[in-house]
């Protein structure tokens, strides 16, 4: 039986969710020291005051938590992973795990990409959101998007999560009517992300990330195949990894294609190191794999605040 690793996409986990793990686990503590040194600031102090959002600090804390969890679980995996993947933000952890960059440089890369995005969205696409919807089959969604196109309202599918689960980007002014039509079709709107993500409209962001962060970064070939979240292709070269990270800005996540590729590699069991609230739980994943979450231990008593 082959096993694979899925590094989760990121939700805005609060300090309480990851702070204790990073403060107490030896693997996480070592990575935190590496982060402090390479970033030049005390990561956890910054994260604590930043709140539950997608800040640079939250992103780096999420990254090192995922890496520490897989390192901690290394001896318990049932076999050597044959491939890894990382939908959306998880691509950065997949890059570090597959040793495309040394871990210190991968942490720095994650921080610089976060800054790059934050700078970009400070002035661009301020009116765009990415809305998650469940219980909305593809044909029903297509119908809704077609009717919006007829009204000259721009939309773009940012994430195909399952056959009835999507994320769609649009202008905030279009959201109310979109949600009404989704509900009328029996769909269930979840949450809206700001800033938005994964859209062909963000070509200038892709260019900025290439020019300022990724363009001349000396990447190595991954030490195990990485499955690209945009199309399920199996990436085995440094250039492929660079393209995968850059294309992530402008191409939607197509999770069913990633699942298909993992099945082609005969993967039967997947480990998910990190606080996953989505990709390891959708039917598309659970009906094809034995899913083993590797989560930070939960603090005793009541769960700290965690908003999605």
């Amino acid at each position: 039986m082959s096993v694979g690793i899925i590094f989760p996409g990121m939700g805005p986990w609060g300090y309480g969710d990851l702070g204790r793990y990073i403060a107490t686990n030896p693997h996480a503590r070592r990575l935190r020291r590496t982060a402090d040194a390479v970033l030049g600031y005390p990561l956890m102090d910054m994260y604590r005051t930043a709140g539950p959002n997608y800040s640079e600090y939250a992103q780096v804390a999420f990254l090192i938590s995922c890496l520490a969890l897989i390192e901690q679980a290394r001896d318990t995996l049932e076999g050597e992973p044959v491939a890894c993947t990382g939908p959306s933000f998880g691509g950065k952890a997949a890059l570090a795990y597959s040793r495309v960059l040394p871990v210190a440089e991968a942490i720095l890369l994650a921080a610089r990409l976060a800054r790059c995005e934050e700078e970009y969205f400070r002035t661009e696409h301020k009116d765009v959101v990415t809305q998650s919807i469940a219980r909305t089959p593809g044909p029903a969604l297509r119908e809704i998007l077609d009717s919006m196109a007829q009204r000259n309202e721009w939309t773009d599918i940012s994430c195909h999560i399952d056959e009835d689960f999507f994320m769609v980007s649009m202008r905030a002014s279009s959201l109310e009517l979109f949600l009404k039509e989704v509900r009328a079709a029996g769909g269930f709107p979840l949450y809206a992300m700001r800033p938005p993500t994964h859209s062909s409209a963000f070509g200038a962001l892709r260019q900025k990330a290439e020019d300022e962060v990724l363009g001349d970064l000396p990447l190595r070939d991954p030490c195990l195949p990485v499955i690209a979240d945009q199309n399920g292709s199996v990436v085995t070269t440094a250039d492929g990894m660079r393209a995968m990270l850059l294309d992530s800005f402008v191409h939607p996540v197509r999770w069913p294609q990633v699942v298909h590729s993992m099945r082609e590699l005969d993967i039967k069991k997947v480990y998910i190191p990190g606080p996953d609230s989505l990709f390891g739980r959708v039917r598309c994943t659970t009906r094809h794999f034995t899913v083993v979450p590797i989560k930070p231990p939960r603090p005793e008593g009541r769960r700290p605040v965690n908003v999605e």
Binding site: R135, K180, Y191, S277, L278, R302, R303, N306, E308
Partner: protein
């Protein structure tokens, strides 16, 4: 007040609520582990167990904010179904 079936179903989706802690009407369900995927699973369970379909105006995260709000919505739906 809700029935035992509702409470048992709801508790299955609250991983951070200890078995011996009371399920209060105003409990913040998200704080006790009901995340967005959990809401979808709970919605499917409740619609199946109570043979109802949430109406358009109830298909929102707000419906799943607290046990009290959720039960009120479900009870109202059941009454409507009975009248029809």
């Amino acid at each position: 007040m809700w029935n035992e079936q509702f409470e048992a179903t709801l508790r299955k989706h609250l991983p951070f609520l200890p078995d011996d802690e009371e399920l209060r009407p105003e409990l913040d369900l998200r704080e006790f582990g009901l995340d967005s995927m959990g809401v979808i699973d709970l919605l499917v369970s409740l619609e199946s167990e109570y043979s109802v379909h949430l109406s358009d105006d109830l298909l929102s995260m707000d419906t799943f904010a607290t046990p009290g709000v959720l039960w009120a919505a479900l009870a109202e739906l059941q009454k409507t179904e009975e009248r029809q």
